[in-house]
Symmetry: C2
Subunit: 297 residues, 2 copies
DNA sequence: TTAATGTCTTTTATCGTGAAAAAACAGTTT
DNA sequence: AAACTGTTTTTTCACGATAAAAGACATTAA
């Protein structure tokens, strides 16, 4: 097996959802733009849809014959990218404990364990190295630096520096900038979530990311924007791992976001600075309390 | 050919220089530590040294028979890492002009042109992407963002943020910290270079990097320290490309460094801040003037 | 009995290869 | 003639294989 067809399978599944809404599908290029894949993949998808009797396909006409059933979908796990698979495996090992700082990482062993080629693992490690959790020894193995207290402090130090600057830039944006509309929409979503926090608290993490990315984008600095990938990645796994008081934590965070949004809308730099600092401080504390003890001198 | 033996060749060349100084070589593990390679490589080196009559080798005794001649060395170009070769080729294309922002980067074409496998090019591009000059389109090609004015401004914005913070941390270091000795040594080197600037101005760039890395290390933050790689990389190629008024620029920079060092030694945060800002400002201007025009809206 | 050398095993670095996916080109339909 | 479909070419992605280099183990010398 040399390359999995997960792009096709994922696009196919997303394509099935389109069948619910229409009586006939649009042109191939249009479908490609819609699903974010090439025409080649679209044609493979259409061919299968025809085969399974979902549509009648003849040149330009693509008539929907029936609504998709659950078993028409490809299984979720077959739609993942290889690098997603590797990342998940790797993070599981890293967070599952027994991953002491200083430990060496073996490409071959990782590849065998996950059941993929070494090239993919190498590429993953190279990409992953920018998160600052691993480091390469010249023509030798990788070394795990570990998810330590020091790591969390260094990460949050940069985060605070970047976000304070981005927030200030955001507040200084002209009245007619499009971001104010985006901010307004996010505010509405926050208010809605705040009202239903008891049941929907686990939806916060996704909203959190969108909110902070919007702010960081105001910096107009690619290094600041890109750095949010590090934060997002860490918080993503941190949220998955540490479910303690999740509801309470998220409830507090939503309230802080709303205060932060208010401050931004006021364009009062002093208020923005204060609201931003307050939120970042509690985010830092949340992160710090979730770090396993006794890994650091 | 599946892997070049440049590690061996480079270590061999460095090993030859040891023969000038001693009558007999130390043990294999010691040599390994000295040259930064494994015993396996050391033994290959010793075998060749024996073959070419440079040493007599029998178990523990490794007697030097003659001083190495110029033709004993492997050619310089055979000692480069594949990634160095790829980086140089890539940067040449990028700086040679005709590399417009938005242009696509073709892995296969690059690999063919340089005469290497696609895997190495892929890995290079992934590693290189953290410099912010290229970007990947999901399951498709890479896009060149270009060495534009915007890039330089974004880069220097972060640089200034990080260096001001590091410099402040540096000045706050206790009297007995080892860095003060390192700073003293660097100061001496600067004074020496200042005196002989007329002939040695091209040695500044290396000194510059060591100086700034020392300061950044005081931040004790891996993201700040690692970011200096981006700066170093950009300035490295920038220095190679833009030789206009090199002597004058470097003369000014040395003087600014000396003032900066003085400020650090005074531990007066106000003075440190001023000296740091002044130097970074002229560094930014130097960089900005070297950017090709008409690439930016 | 410690530290070296000699030998064997494992891991890393790199390539060529082939399928998936994208992109380019050519021919049709509206 | 603009936009689509059909077909072909090119590129990306991922694997297994192999030489270089590292590392582990066994043996020997001081």
């Amino acid at each position: 097996m040399s390359k999995s067809n997960n792009v096709y399978k994922d696009a196919y599944n997303r394509g099935l959802r389109l069948l619910d809404e229409t009586k006939s599908l649009p042109s191939e290029p249009e479908l490609g733009a819609l699903l974010g894949v090439s025409r080649t993949t679209i044609r493979t998808i259409l061919a299968r849809m025809e085969e399974t009797g979902l549509i009648a396909w003849n040149k330009r006409s693509k008539t929907v014959l029936r609504v998709p059933r659950p078993d028409d979908f490809f299984p979720e796990e077959e739609t993942d990218t290889l690098s997603q698979i590797i990342e998940r495996s790797f993070m599981r090992r890293l967070l599952a404990g027994g991953a002491e700082p200083g430990m060496q990482i073996n490409e071959l062993e990782l590849a065998r364990e996950i059941g993929v080629g070494t090239t993919s693992v190498r590429e993953f490690l190279i990409r992953f190295s920018r998160f600052g959790l691993i480091e390469k020894r010249r023509n030798s193995h990788w070394v795990l630096k570990g998810f330590t207290r020091a790591f969390a402090l260094e990460l949050t130090e940069i985060r605070e520096m970047f976000e304070l600057r981005s927030a200030a830039a955001f507040a200084a944006l002209p009245e007619d900038s499009l971001v104010w509309a985006d901010l307004g929409l996010l505010e509405d979503e926050h208010r809605l979530l705040a009202r239903e926090i008891a049941t929907r608290f686990n939806e916060f993490s996704e909203l959190d990311e969108r909110f902070h990315r919007l702010i960081h984008r105001a910096s107009h600095n690619r290094f600041i924007v890109d750095f949010y990938d590090v934060i997002a990645m860490i918080f993503h796994y941190h949220y998955q791992w540490n479910k303690a008081q999740e509801r309470e934590r998220n409830e507090v965070a939503v309230a802080e976001h709303l205060a932060y949004i208010d401050a931004l809308k006021s364009r009062d730099l002093g208020k923005v600075d204060a609201a931003c600092r307050k939120h970042l401080k509690s985010a830092r504390n949340t992160l710090l309390t979730s770090i396993p003890e006794g890994q650091q001198p």
